[in-house]
Structure formats: C-alpha cells, structure tokens
C-alpha cells in the first residue's frame, strides 16, 4: 500500500457520497427499485474503504485517535440510523437504557462506530432470529460494548486467535480493525482497550474501551 492507494480510496469515498445523495433523491419519487439493497452495498464499500484506510495509517505509524466525550445514547441512535432496518425475520435490540445510565464516555466515535457497525452487520448476516448490542461497565474501569447473535458462532480457528483477512464473508478485515482500534484507546494511567471473541449460544463480540 502506498499514498496513491490512500488517495484513490479517498476519491472513491467522495464518489460514493455523491451517488448516495442521488439515490436519496430518486428514492423520494415513486419508482420500484430495491434501494435498500443498493444502499446496503454502498454502506459496506464505504465501511471497508474506511477500515482499510485506517489500517494503512496504522501501518504508516500515522494513526492517532481523536478521543473526546460522546453521549452514548446519541452514539447508539446514530449507529442505528446508519445501519438502517434489520433484515426480515431478525430483531435488532440496542441497550439504550444502559447508554443512558452511563451517560458520556471519551473515545474516538468515528472509529468505534465503524467497528461496531461492522460487527453488527456481520452478526445480522449470521443470526437466526436476533442480534443485541448491550453496554456495561466491567470491574476495573472502562466500558464494554457487546454484540451478540444467535447464529452458529465464530469458527474455532478465529477464537484461537488466527487472523483470517481474506476469509469468505470478509469478517477478517472487520475484526483486525476492531482489535487495532481497541488497542489504540488508552488512558494516562496506562490502561488500554481490547477485543474479546467468544461463543455463547451464538457469537459474542466484546469491545472494551478504557
């Protein structure tokens, strides 16, 4: 990867945005097209490009997080808005009560939103009936975002810690990305974030932020 790749990615993202606006315009007219799918794939391209760009920056030693306070309820609402309605037959539940209880937290909202949106899209693809995003404050400080589904769970090699960047379904990039940005979150007293994967009646994705 070199700077040119980053520049091309950047351009592509702008093109995507213009296209998205056009779609929104067309959507307001009564035409029968499957816009939801169109926009779904657009969102996914944008997501992957953004993750790729972040990985590239980390590789160049140029990734610096923009940590500031964010209202967790606003954060969840925006995440839901970005994801759109879940596929038919699958319920998506966000733990808004916990977000409201904790209030605000300091983190890089852009990068964490990308990581969670990816984890949620992934869970929605594999779930049988439901996906939940819950939130708590584990002992020892920090907060934890938990994405849980009732699908077949993570494949064993993945739980064993093997990276599968080019795996079918593209989950590898998302997990690599989530792990990277969790580790980049830190506090002045030296605590760091981390990612934990487990299976418990489906896949459990836990993103810890210090």
């Amino acid at each position: 990867m070199d700077a040119l790749v980053a520049a091309v990615i950047h351009d592509a993202k702008n093109a995507l945005m213009a296209l998205d606006a056009r779609l929104a315009e067309a959507e307001s007219r009564p035409v029968s097209t499957d816009f939801a799918t169109l926009r779904g794939s657009l969102a996914r391209i944008a997501q992957e490009l953004a993750e790729l760009l972040t990985l590239y920056r980390a590789q160049q030693g140029a990734l610096r997080l923009a940590i500031d306070d964010h209202d967790l309820l606003d954060f969840l609402d925006e995440l839901a808005l970005e994801l759109g309605p879940p596929p038919e037959g699958i319920a998506l539940k966000l733990d808004r009560a916990a977000a409201q209880r904790i209030g605000a937290w300091a983190f890089d909202a852009h990068l964490v939103r990308l990581a969670l949106a990816d984890a949620l899209r992934n869970a929605l693809r594999h779930a049988k009936t439901r996906v939940t995003l819950s939130l708590d404050q584990p002992a020892g400080g920090g907060i934890r975002f938990i994405v849980q589904d009732d699908g077949p769970g993570f494949p064993a090699p993945l739980l064993a810690g093997e990276e599968q960047v080019a795996s079918a379904g593209g989950t590898g990039l998302g997990l690599l990305f989530a792990r990277l940005i969790a580790a980049h979150h830190a506090t002045p007293d030296g605590r760091h974030g981390r990612l934990e994967l487990a299976n418990d009646g489906g896949a459990v994705f836990s993103l810890y932020l210090p």
Partner: protein, 539 residues
C-alpha cells in the same frame, strides 16, 4: 427533525459536493441557504449576515481549509456563539478538525453521510446551543465570567442532558476567572469517575495556575501519551516549558505541529525559533506559512518580514531580498506595504555592507513614513531600518511616537523593545520605553489633578493637545473627552465642547473599541447632550 425557518451557509469549493450537500440540507427542510465557494466569499457572507448554522467543508482548495476559516471568523468575532458550525471532512482532514484546541467546530461529520445524519447532527447542535444560551449570553464581546459561572451552576442544579457541557464550560470559565482551586476540584471530581482528555488537561492547567508546575508537567506528559491528538495538552505543556527551557518548548511545539499542521502553529514555531536565534528553523517555518496559503487570506506582512529577516540573519542577502519582492506580489499596494518593503531592503543591504543601496532604501521608507500615518508595525520596521542605516535619532523618534500612542499595550511595547534589542541597544530601549510609559501616565495624572483642582481649562488644553498628536491613544482621547464633558457639566450647554468631546470618544473607539472606559464616557455624553445633539453611534 426540521430545519425550516432557519438560515444557513454552505461552504465548499467542489461544485458536485456543494450540490449534493445543498440537496441534503434541503431534504432536512433548510430552504434559506446561501453558498460560498471559497474563504473570501464565506467571510463576505458572515460579515454581512447572521446565520443560524454553517456547514463547511474542511478542504477549501488553494491551501485554505475550513479550520483556518473558523479561526479567522471566531477571532474577528464575526460568528456569534449561538451559530452552529458543523465541519464536513474526509479521513484526511478529520484529525485536524477533531483535535483543534482553541477554535473547535461544534461538531464534525465524516464523509460519506446521509441526509438524516446531517440533519440529526445539526438539530443536536442547535438544541445544545439553545440549552446553553443562558451561559453564552454572558460570553459576548465583554465576557462576565462570574455571571456565566453562576449560569453554569443553575444549569447543573437543574440537571438535564447538557449538564456535562455546562460542567466543561464551567471548568474553562473558572480558569479564565483565576479561580484555579475550584477548577482543580471540578476536574478532579470528573477524573475520579472516568478518564477523559479535557479533564486531564484542565486539571493540569489548574495546577499551572496554582504554581504546581512539576505536577502539571507530569500529568500533561502522560496525557499526551494517551491522547496524542489532544492539542490543548501540547499547548499547556509548551506554556510551562517556555519559561524554563525554550528548546524543550520548541520540541513540544514541533510535535504539536505534526499533529495539526496549522498556519498559526507553524507561525508560533517560527517566532520562537527566531527568538532563540535558530534562524534556519525560523526560515523553514515561515517558508511553510507563506507557501501553504495560496489564497493570501491568512498570511500577513509580518510573515514575509520574518522570512526575510531569518534569511538575512543567515547571511542570505539575495534570498532575503527575494522574500521582500514576494511580499509585494502577495498583497495589495499600500503605504504600509511599501514602507515595510523599503525598510527591509535597507536592513538587507546594510547587513551586506552595501551602504549606498541601504541609504536609498531608507530614504524611500522615510518619505513614506512622513507622508502617511503608518500602522505601528510598519512604523517599527522603519525604525529598525533607521538603526541599521545609521539614523538612530530618527529611529527613536518613530519609536517614541508608537510607544506614546500605545502606552497601555504591553504587546506593542514588547515589540518596540525588540527593535532596540536587535539594534544592540537592549538596555537603552528598556530605559527609553519605561520613561515614555511613565511620561504618559504622568500626563494623564497631572491633567486629572488639574481638572479636580478646578483648573479645567488648563487640563483641557493639555489633554486635547496630546490627543490631537497621539490619535491612537484611547486613554488620552477619553480623558480629553472627560475634561470637556466636565466643563459642560459645570458651565452648562456648550455645543462646541460637546462636539469636541464626541469627536474624542469616536477617536478612542477607533483606537481601541475594547477600552474599558469607553462605555462610561459614552454614557456621560448621552446624559449631558441635549436631545437634538448628534447621537453617538452605539458603543
């Protein structure tokens, strides 16, 4: 979520993006929306009209960016606190926007985003601004920190969803009001709950104010480690280091510059390098300042002058003269520009041992100086040239005039002192400027004493003579107005005296619209002037 009924300004240099954003804003109900393609158009717009919201792209082309625009309009107070400012950015600009310390946008949004997201963010900012309005109303052009802090406390007592914002604002206000102990307690209570950069840096700033610099330094170093993008941490650390270890301060400033390569930061690094005698580094910094901004909107005569001088100090006469020439091409012609160019040319030629050329340039500078009333910065440059060209008496005369006009302005006096220091006359400069300052204070005191002892005519004569000579000294003009109004108060309606007083108040306002006594004199005039007298413009 509806923005109808509001007025907006959209700033983007890219036609396609502008059309796309305009469509999104319109979908959110915003019908009254002006557009600007560049910084110049945008500044024109905000100077003429108040907007409820501004959506600005980070990348504005020609080396200009939205952050520079925001800093400019905030510094010039063209943007009321109630106006929502949303920055739109790609991944490349996002770090700059998310880290800006002093002039941060209210929020920022990364491309791509949907119309819904855009509308949600704008509504949220406007909502928050409305909730914080009871605090903002005390933070206009003449901030009242005590009342603003009381307003924060009221909002905090009421609870609600903007409590955290009120708390954060309160910390800043306590620091601004020199209530450092309370600020420290506030930040410590936040940090006891969770780690967050604003409280870490706030606590360190409170510690600096309390004189506990070692503790502050240790905290800031750890904060920078954890939050390498949080510029306020670098700024506070550099502030500590500047007193004790300029080289270390410089290293921190360079580090911050890597995080956010803003023009203002580059300029600060250059100025410090110049003060430290690190002229190669100063040259590189000023080179970046003048190169980056191809619009010419954010650079000043000073930038070129310091570029020329840092080259000169390294013996690069031809390059220094080239910078002076570039300066002429970068700005519109004015007496200030031409006087500065001639003054810098004189210094360059003098340094290179080219006496005749130096004298010719100095003559040009002095002709302009005599014919126009130059701004103090240009005048001090001419004074520097006088020292370089062997005319120290002319130099001192110019500096005397500047110092008498600005005897209340410490930054200007420091600048005047720097002219002496560069001419190798540091001690003489200190004495000279001290004496000037004392003379001005004595003049004011003597006149006030005369007035109080009933010798009003003598006081009026003394102050009006000084005010007519020193047209940029707000204090003298205000005292002249006061003496004239006291005369009106005593002797009754004297149209002539009233008219003269009005003239001096206007003169003071032009010299320093922020002068603390301006309101008092304006009110006194209004009280004494008959209803049919010409009104004063709003102070």
């Amino acid at each position: 979520m509806n923005l109808s009924g509001l007025t907006g300004l959209l700033i983007d240099d890219n036609n396609d993006m502008r059309a796309a954003l305009r469509a999104q804003l319109s979908a959110a109900g915003l019908e009254r929306c002006d557009t600007a393609r560049n910084v110049k158009e945008a500044v024109d717009r905000v100077s003429r009209q108040r907007y409820d919201l501004i959506v600005c792209d980070y990348n504005l082309g020609q080396g200009a960016d939205g952050q520079q625009f925001l800093e400019l309009v905030r510094r010039k107070q063209l943007l009321p606190l109630s106006c929502a400012f949303l920055m739109v950015t790609g991944e490349n600009g996002y770090e700059q926007v998310a880290t800006s310390a002093e002039y941060a946008p209210d929020d920022y949004l990364l491309k791509p985003f949907t119309a819904d997201t855009l509308a949600t963010r704008l509504t949220r900012i406007l909502d928050k601004k409305a909730a914080l309005q009871p605090i903002y109303r005390w933070l206009g052009k003449k901030p009242d920190h005590t009342k603003a802090i009381a307003a924060c406390d009221e909002l905090l007592a009421a609870g609600g969803r903007y409590s955290l914002d009120a708390l954060r604002l309160k910390g800043e206000l306590l620091l601004a009001a020199h209530r450092a102990e309370e600020a420290r307690a506030l930040y410590a209570s936040v940090l006891a709950q969770r780690a967050t950069p604003w409280a870490s840096v706030g606590e360190a700033r409170a510690l600096i104010a309390l004189g506990e610099e070692a503790a502050a330094r240790e905290r800031l170093e750890r904060a920078i480690e954890a939050y390498p993008n949080y510029l306020a941490a670098y700024d506070a650390l550099a502030q500590i280091l500047l007193k004790a270890d300029k080289a270390a301060a410089q290293a921190v400033m360079e580090q911050a510059l890597k995080v956010a390569p803003s023009t203002q930061r580059t300029r600060e690094v250059g100025t410090l390098a110049f003060e430290m005698g690190d002229y190669a580094r100063a040259e590189a910094a000023y080179q970046r300042v003048v190169d980056k901004d191809r619009t010419g909107f954010f650079k000043s005569h000073d930038d070129y002058a310091l570029l020329a001088k840092s080259r000169l100090e390294q013996g690069k006469t031809a390059e220094a003269l080239a910078a002076v020439k570039d300066m002429g091409a970068a700005f519109a012609r004015s007496p200030e520009l031409e006087a500065r160019q001639a003054a810098l040319e004189c210094q360059a030629h003098a340094k290179a041992g080219n006496g005749a050329a130096a004298q010719a340039a100095l003559e040009r500078a002095l002709v302009i100086q005599a014919a126009s009333s130059l701004d103090p910065h240009a005048a001090l440059e001419v004074a520097q040239a006088c020292f370089a060209g062997g005319k120290p008496e002319d130099a001192k005369e110019i500096i005397r005039h500047v110092a008498e006009n600005h005897h209340e302005d410490d930054a200007m006096l420091a600048r005047a002192q720097a002219v002496f220091a560069r001419a190798g006359l540091h001690d003489e400069g200190t004495l000279f400027l001290e004496a000037t300052k004392k003379r001005m204070i004595k003049l004011n005191n003597d006149a006030v004493a005369l007035a109080k002892s009933g010798q009003l005519d003598e006081a009026i004569a003394m102050l009006t003579e000084a005010a007519d000579r020193l047209t940029n000294n707000a204090q003298i003009a205000l005292n002249a107005a006061l003496a004239l109004l006291m005369h009106v108060q005593r002797a009754g309606g004297d149209e002539m005296a009233l008219a003269r007083a009005r003239g001096y108040i206007a003169q003071a306002k032009a010299a320093n619209p922020e002068h603390p006594r301006l309101i008092e004199l304006t009110n006194l005039y209004r009280k004494l002037a008959p209803p049919d007298a010409p009104p004063l413009e709003e102070a």
